[in-house]
């Protein structure tokens, strides 16, 4: 368990607003995402935990180690952390290898090899750092942080300085780190997509304060609903794998007494899978179609109907019997034709299910 209490105010006396004011407990395992828009205090929170920013009244306990209270505060270099910044921050006067070795505490050669292989760093070792792409530099930075054998890995939007294609190139590495590193990760992000893919626990910050904390699926769905992400509304579902069919390359998720089929070869029975379903991939039928190519058909109740006046569509919120949420984007014309009302029992036909975790 990580217990953190910080209160930081903006230096300017004119703005009375708070940069960060939290008193919270975070799980000391898996990925905990700190989510919020820019200026919400995410980075400040991370810097306080790292000891890069000092709150004289702050309190911090990580696992069974006291890092800070009102009487003492470990300086940053004595906190056993790995810190990955927004930019790679490789030292320009050192080559890739020396950057990696800077601060290395890992002495187990086998583990070191494993880590370098995991991040595909070996081919980069003899290249000048100026010749590395942004994503490659960030991989070296992650390796450098992990070679110090930290007790906790702090990541401050490690993808934000990369363009979209580099982002999707680096994201799988982060997923591997999450699975293999075996240490808790605090991950700052303002991207729901990243959080949905990586987080096991989610803390939402607004104006420096914690406004929500807990299971990412519920919070993200709730957040999407409130903020109404009109461009690409979607929901997350988390369920266990009931069975797999290797020949058809399908895995089956248990949603109530129904099954959601998922194209996947790696999952095994009993895994918890998190999937994302986009509203545009969900259509609504009044009866259970048996003559359709669509595999995934779930009985649902209409929860809410939101008219999107600008483009002639409506967003329909649906709930399954065991309270999973779905959202469907249909045209106003379809809405009128089906005469949908809140509380109606309908069938959701799901064209595609994307595994995110």
């Amino acid at each position: 368990m990580i217990r953190a209490k910080f209160h930081i105010e903006f230096p300017s006396p004119s703005s009375s607003s708070v940069a960060l004011s939290v008193d919270t407990q975070l799980p000391a395992k898996g990925v905990t995402a700190l989510f919020g828009r820019s200026g919400a205090g995410k980075t400040t929170f991370l810097r306080c935990i790292a000891g890069l920013q000092h709150d004289p009244c702050g309190e911090l306990v990580v696992g069974d180690q006291l890092w800070q209270n009102k009487d003492m505060s470990l300086p940053c270099h004595k906190r056993n952390i790995g810190y990955v910044f927004q930019e790679p921050r490789l030292f320009p006067h050192l080559d890739v290898e020396s950057n990696l070795r800077f601060g290395q505490r890992m002495s187990d050669k086998a583990r070191e090899d494993e880590l370098l292989a995991l991040l595909d760093i070996r081919p980069l070792l003899d290249r000048p750092i100026q010749g590395l792409s942004g994503g490659e530099q960030q991989r070296v930075a992650i390796g450098r942080a992990l070679l110090t054998q930290p007790n906790i890995l702090l990541m401050d939007e490690p993808l934000s300085s990369l363009d979209a294609s580099r982002k999707s190139e680096l994201l799988p590495y982060l997923e591997r780190i999450k699975d293999e590193a075996g240490i808790p990760i605090l991950y700052v992000s303002h991207s729901l997509q990243e959080v949905g893919r990586l987080a096991d626990y989610l803390v939402v910050l607004e104006r420096g304060r914690q406004v929500a904390a807990g299971n990412p699926v519920a919070i993200i769905n709730d957040y999407q609903r409130r903020k109404d992400y009109a461009d690409a509304p979607s929901t997350l579902l988390e369920a266990s794998i009931e069975s797999t069919d290797t020949r058809a390359q399908l895995a089956s998720l248990a949603i109530g007494d129904k099954i959601l089929h998922l194209r996947n070869e790696q999952l095994v029975q009993g895994d918890i899978a998190r999937v994302q379903i986009y509203a545009k991939d969900v259509s609504i039928a009044l009866s259970e179609a048996t003559d359709s190519s669509i595999l995934n058909i779930l009985p649902v109740t209409v929860d809410a109907i939101v008219h999107n006046n600008v483009n002639g569509t409506a967003t329909v919120r649906l709930a399954t019997a065991d309270d999973h949420e779905l959202v469907s984007l249909i045209t106003m014309k379809s809405l009128q034709r089906l005469q949908l009302t809140v509380g109606a029992q309908v069938w959701a036909q799901i064209k595609s299910v994307a595994l995110v975790q």
């Binding site: 790292a50 000891g51 890069l52 300086p75 940053c76 270099h77 004595k78 056993n80 952390i81 790995g82 810190y83 910044f85 927004q86 930019e87 921050r89 030292f91 320009p92 006067h93 800077f102 601060g103 505490r105 100026q130 450098r144 942080a145 110090t148 300085s161």
Partner: protein
């Protein structure tokens, strides 16, 4: 071509400049550090004091240094107390004067290098477990190397080129305070133009060489900083 007195003056100049430069780096580095990172209200005042030798006539500076080195002055009181006697008209008095006189030429390049480097390398090194001393010699020193070399070169060259302050606090005692610039002055006073010429040319070439080195270094320093600065 050089007279015996000229060689002696040149050697004395080199000794003075070497010792002063070492002391200047020792004093100038923490001062530049403080000027870069302190948020104290005294920053502007300290910056101004450091920069004074740039604008004051060396005679004014020399005059006050002379007063300070008198037995009643602060430097004099200290040197008398430790049994070193008076500093005025001694080699070590010149060293003290040079350190004050050349301080801005050492502090400014180091300050510029630290500012261009920014805080991120030190923060990053902290997160990688480096303590203050390791951060300095593993990160700050190599990253700011051009700044330190520039500082040393300018401090050395400026001390070599010192004249007014030397004359005020050192006079021209051969082997003790008679440096090259004073020797040239004396040659001219005694109408030994040929002697003055050869010594002057040496000084000119030395200054040109030093400044060329500094400017070529600063070009590569700028490239290093441009690459490494996080956006």
């Amino acid at each position: 071509m050089l007279a015996e007195g000229d060689v002696q003056a040149l050697l004395l100049t080199l000794k003075l400049a070497s010792i002063s430069t070492a002391l200047l780096l020792f004093v100038g580095t923490p001062l530049a550090w403080w000027l870069t990172y302190s948020s104290s209200k005294l920053r502007a005042l300290v910056s101004a004091v450091v920069a004074l030798p740039l604008v004051l006539p060396p005679t004014v500076l020399g005059f006050y240094l002379l007063l300070a080195m008198s037995p009643d002055g602060p430097f004099g009181a200290i040197s008398e107390a430790v049994g070193a006697g008076s500093l005025a008209f001694t080699f070590w008095g010149l060293v003290l004067g040079s350190v004050v006189y050349s301080l801005p030429f050492v502090v400014q390049p180091i300050h510029n290098a630290l500012t261009a480097m920014g805080k991120w390398p030190m923060e990053t090194a902290s997160t990688l477990g480096a303590n203050a001393w390791q951060r300095f010699y593993k990160v700050v020193l190599p990253m700011c190397k051009p700044g330190f070399i520039t500082a040393a070169a300018l401090g050395f060259a400026h001390t070599v080129g010192e004249f007014g302050v030397v004359l005020m606090i050192g006079g021209n005692i051969p082997g003790e305070t008679k440096v090259a610039s004073v020797q040239i002055y004396e040659h001219v006073e005694t109408l030994q133009y040929a002697q003055a010429h050869s010594l002057s040319l040496l000084m000119l070439l030395f200054a040109l060489l030093t400044l060329t080195l500094v400017y070529s270094l600063n070009g590569s320093a700028a490239r290093l900083v441009r690459f490494s600065a996080p956006s």
